[in-house]
Symmetry: none
DNA sequence: CATGAATGAGTATTCATTCAT
DNA sequence: TATGAATGAATACTCATTCAT
């Protein structure tokens, strides 16, 4: 029997693997839609199962429990956000331009194409349970740490110093605060998706000015 | 009717009124403590009643339902915050100093003496139910509007203009975002209550620089 | 106002107390009937609630959980059994007659008038969960200990000795084994409620002979 | 057809047959271990499959359902016990010695080398479901019937009579009761595996004395 | 024969809310 | 006003069983 004969089961296994991943994604997608629309606690597992067109048991086959579903979602969104921002930083390495690019990417790409993601990450993730809270904190801290590192590079590349040893951390925290509140305000509350372009631009300008304000020896 | 006859019940009525208000406060306080410690959904009405040393029925006599308890708390905290900020703005009318004063008051007074308040307003209020969400939005919008007005006064008093027509609103949103994330990061997550003094100072500097960055004709 | 005026609330409180205890008993009774008829695991809490003519929530108001319901039942039956046997021992203190009396009481009174009790104690209590098992063991050990003490008294009163230091314990264990198997065999399996009179009589004779067999220096 | 041609498939078939039986045993063994350790209801089929290193589906290929697994186990243990006791009776045919031998075998061999078996037969088999209960009863009745026959032979061989027509049956029931309670008490509860040697000896003495107590015309 | 993903009925438990006293 | 017993709808989660591959 030729080599292809041995491959056949491998192919089946691969296809199964793919199908399994698809299911995983389908369920996660259904959960995201419902969490965004109705809120985590107002969404029942039966609804999620129905939306994903699977049985309740299947949801539990793929996810340990409801909490895990939310955490998976948060992690997915968080990772996505980090990648986007990292890429922006890398484009204009170590310059204030990188910060501008990151902000622009956040408001133009992330918020506009994935309003649900913003909702999950900034709204639904807050105060659900101890485990969720821990994970939320972990993800926020990572993002803040990324921003911090970018700010450190800006400082060393431009040969300036900041006000204090903790300035980078503080600024990173401020920037994230701006991102999330602007996103929620214009996107989720006022549904002014168009305004967010302009607001985002100004928010970025605000951010840049804020950073420069903490720079000494310019 | 003799005077004494009229006065006696009046006194009783007054005392009753006072007692009633005390009860109201006691229950609200118990709810706040528990919401902050365990989270809104993880706190049962029975626990609240027990902590307030009243029966479940009594809680329902003073508050329509559990949601109302959270909303009352949010309103109380929101009002408190507004008053604090307004007073700060008034001290240094229409100048950037007012903005600085407000930020300082927020980080020094509000956050440090009422960490529970910050938790209720910024964390527990998010994504509980449609009604709570509506109220939360209303309170945030009010705060933003206050900040916006202060920024308008600063502009008119200093004779400058901002980048665009929506700049005041955008900046107000940014400032609130900075407030809440810095508060949660240093106060609620890292329990670095001492750092918040320094962090607050720098956050205010960041804010001021950000605002000035959006000012044109300086 | 006369003394009776003060008593009124007391009376109400008392009546409430009584009603509460009645409910407790009603629920316990419903659970017993169903556990005996269908088995513990095959009985749902909804069925118990329905049989007791209360809501599911009420069952949980009186009992922490389903397990607790079974444990309460076991304890009730165990206590009842102990009292019955103790009284029998006391009638004919320290003589073999007491042993005979106890056996007779067990087969004539306990088994015949409360076949459900025997079922709960000897059958339903076995291997349900760790907690139930612990409690079951505790109750069995108590019963065995009672029997042991009775045997010790018989020995000291009649001036004999048993084969070894552990003989009383061993005999107590044997006697309980005889009781439960005879009860289950004639009562629960063969529904030969009439035969149990005769069987019980002979089982007692067997028991007595067995005990005497382990007596030395007669 | 040449011999070799016929033999080859036969050999394969035989090996398969052997492997099949091994699987059967492996699964049964895994089930036994888990049932003893965690209890029937607390053990899931997935756990059994995992312990037996097969898939869930495979378990269902070898056993109709979970109930059947327990019943198979009970039957295996029951058969083992019967064989042991029968052999003991046969060694000393028709004499009280046979009864003594059987008891000794039970406590020394059965209990000590297979504590899990005792647990399955005396504890886990009780009150699981109607089918299990029926089978349990059937097995107990068989054992009792064996004991009864042995007692009948003793009676006819020694030329005595018992108290009544039902005495043999009653005594058989008593003996089984003694066996199981002593086994559970010393072996499963108190983990006094060493004491069971002595306790077993005395239990046998108790049994013999009990039987003789019901003999008339000695 | 073996696999393990999929099913979905079944159930214990919670808890906001009501209301007779 | 205050109580707390009673309610029952809502829901997360389990697990024996099946069946396409």
């Amino acid at each position: 029997m030729p080599v292809t004969g041995a491959k056949k089961p491998a192919r089946t296994a691969l296809r199964r693997q793919r199908e399994k991943e698809q299911r995983h994604e389908t369920i996660l997608g259904a959960a995201e839609t419902l969490f965004v629309k109705k809120g985590y606690h107002q969404t029942s597992l039966e609804e999620i199962a129905e939306a994903a067109e699977v049985s309740v048991g299947t949801v539990y086959f793929y996810f340990k429990n409801k909490e895990e579903l939310l955490i998976s979602l948060m992690q997915k969104v968080g990772a996505h956000l980090r990648v986007m921002l990292q890429e922006a930083f890398l484009k204009k390495q170590g310059t204030m331009e990188g910060i501008v690019e990151a902000g622009t990417v956040f408001f133009q790409d992330f918020c506009r194409s994935h309003p649900g993601h913003a909702s999950i990450f900034f709204r639904e993730s807050g105060g659900r349970s101890a485990r969720v809270e821990t994970e939320r904190k972990r993800l926020y801290v990572k993002l803040i740490s990324d921003l911090e590192k970018a700010l450190v590079r800006v400082r060393s590349e431009t040969g300036t110093t900041y006000l204090s040893a903790g300035s980078e951390e503080l600024m990173a925290v401020c920037i994230l605060g701006i991102y999330e509140r602007v996103a929620e305000y214009y996107l989720l509350w006022h549904d002014r998706a168009d305004d967010i372009t302009e607001a985002g631009r100004e928010a970025v300008a605000f951010t840049v000015a804020g950073i420069q304000g903490l720079m000494t020896g310019r």
